[in-house]
């Protein structure tokens, strides 16, 4: 049996199995498959045509070189392979918090593996055609490495990485949004469903002054929101106790937190009458005694809403 056919089928089965598994676990969006699928389709058509033509008459393999579709197709496929590998690095260096986004890692991995397979198969096919036989009798370690071992190591490594990743007790890194307290609360007051879609689980950086310090199992700072009766409740992990111990009511703080959602009374007779925006896993970035006007950023007075 042809080396190309057997390894090709195995690689294809491996890719399809991993893809189906990831989609069924809702770890991969079908949108992420558009680019790899299109590239894969082009390459698949090219390889099938080449093999079919070559096998039809084994003595005329060299004639493939004279066919327009072959050299042009080969260059196109190489270009696709290079573009896919390049796109992986593009994602790696341009996508914010790449290594904390499971979807980004998986998408990049799939594109990288397919890019390498495309380059490998095109090169091997070209080598076989040039030597006028389609039996790859001298498959070496590198043939197996790129086709089978590399994808398996990559997939197994990333699965281990994803499953062993622990949560952060304190939010770090670049904020998704730098907003004023008044602006974000106004958005939740206007339509909390729309604001939830925008902010939920995102990193929010904001500044305001402390109106209440409470908490038992954790530390809770209630910040002024600039809207009557509405506060921003910032939850700190108990590991942050020392860091926030010096804060007193009236202090101004800059915090980086994860957005937990907006809470408002369900009905008029509810005992839980407070209205607040809940932020969790907070990180105290700055604490100053100067009391700013509500909703003004301490570090940069020009700070406004808008994605960073």
């Amino acid at each position: 049996m042809l080396f190309l056919e057997i390894t090709g089928i195995l690689s294809l089965l491996l890719t399809v199995t991993v893809t189906v598994l990831l989609i069924s676990l809702k770890m991969l969006s079908t949108d992420a498959l558009i680019i790899p699928s299109l590239a894969f389709l082009v390459v698949f058509v090219f390889i099938v045509i080449s093999i079919r033509y070559a096998r039809r008459d084994i003595h005329k393999i060299h004639e493939l070189h004279d066919h327009g579709f072959y050299p042009m197709g080969r260059l196109l496929v190489y270009a696709i392979g290079v573009a896919m590998i390049g796109y992986t690095f593009f994602l790696l260096f341009t996508q914010k918090d790449f290594f904390t986004s499971i979807g980004s890692i998986i998408e990049a991995e799939m594109i990288l593996v397919l890019g390498i397979l495309i380059m490998y198969y095109t090169y091997t096919l070209h080598y076989l055609i040039k030597n006028e036989h389609l039996r790859h009798e001298h498959a070496n370690f590198f043939d197996f490495f790129w086709v089978m071992i590399f994808p398996i190591i990559l997939v197994a490594g990333s699965v281990f990485f994803l499953f062993s990743q622990t949560t952060e007790a304190v939010v770090s890194g670049r904020p998704d949004f730098e907003v004023t307290a008044g602006k974000i609360l106004a958005e939740f007051e206007k339509n909390d469903s729309v604001a939830n879609l925008k902010y939920l689980n995102k990193k929010i950086k904001l500044a305001s002054h402390v109106v209440e310090i409470t908490g038992d199992s954790s530390i809770l700072l209630k910040l002024a929101g600039g809207i009557e009766g509405v506060t921003i409740n910032c939850g700190f992990d108990k590991s942050q106790k020392e860091k926030v111990a010096a804060i007193i009511e009236g202090d101004s703080v800059v915090v980086l937190c994860s957005c937990g959602g907006f809470t408002k009374p369900k009905d008029a007779g509810s005992l839980l009458s407070e209205k607040y925006l809940e932020l969790n896993s907070c990180n105290l970035l700055q604490q100053i005694t100067l009391k700013p006007s509500i909703g003004t950023d301490i570090e940069n007075p020009n700070i406004d809403s808008g994605k960073k």
Binding site: S24, L200, G261, S270, N280
Partner: protein, 186 residues
């Protein structure tokens, strides 16, 4: 005579004020849940639970933002929030009920009182009437509501929460929920 009338009026005012009761509140209560299977133990904690208790009628309310539950493993937290609890669609879990033996709880005296709380628990958009055994610990101006996980077990399928077949071996069908909320008199 005048003094007696004034004294009675004073006692009346005091007792009216006492009957009106107090409201205890927190925005930083703790709720934990625990799932045990032969494959894996999963636990998560939420330290930002809003809870309130009215001492006169024994009314209690809890509100929890699903997204504020913290897990040890990031992937499990993501699955819990997005796939199981569908937090984008159902961001909160709530409980609204009454302490059945409220009359035997003396809010003015420090002590531990075993109670049962009956009410409606809403999670994942499904509301169920439940009764939870627990205790109230009174210590000055603080009333702590506690239960043990064994007393409060929730069947995921009762609340329409589906665990994919691939994860069924890792996530138990019954989840134990432990409440520990220290409420302060307001």
């Amino acid at each position: 005579m005048k003094k007696i009338i004034l004294s009675l009026a004073f006692v009346g005012l005091i007792s009216t004020a006492f009957k009106a009761g107090s409201v205890y509140k927190t925005s930083a209560g703790e709720i934990k849940f625990f799932s045990h299977t032969n494959m894996e133990d999963i636990d998560a904690t939420n330290n930002l639970v809003a809870a309130a208790l009215s001492s006169d009628k024994g009314a209690v309310e809890f509100s929890v933002n699903v997204n504020s539950f913290k897990f040890k493993k990031a992937l499990m937290q993501k699955h819990f929030q997005e796939n199981y609890m569908e937090s984008g669609k159902y961001p909160k879990a709530t409980f609204k009920g009454t302490i059945l033996e409220n009359a035997k709880v003396d809010y003015a005296k420090d002590g531990t009182y075993a109670v049962k709380v009956k009410g409606t628990f809403t999670m994942h958009g499904v509301a169920k009437d439940i009764t939870i055994p627990g205790k109230i610990i009174i210590a000055g101006a603080k009333a702590t509501l506690q239960n043990t996980g064994k007393d409060f077990r929730v069947k995921l399928k009762d609340y329409g929460i589906k665990v994919p077949a691939q994860n069924a071996a890792n996530v138990s069908e019954d989840i134990n929920i432990t409440v520990n909320c220290a409420l302060i008199k307001k």
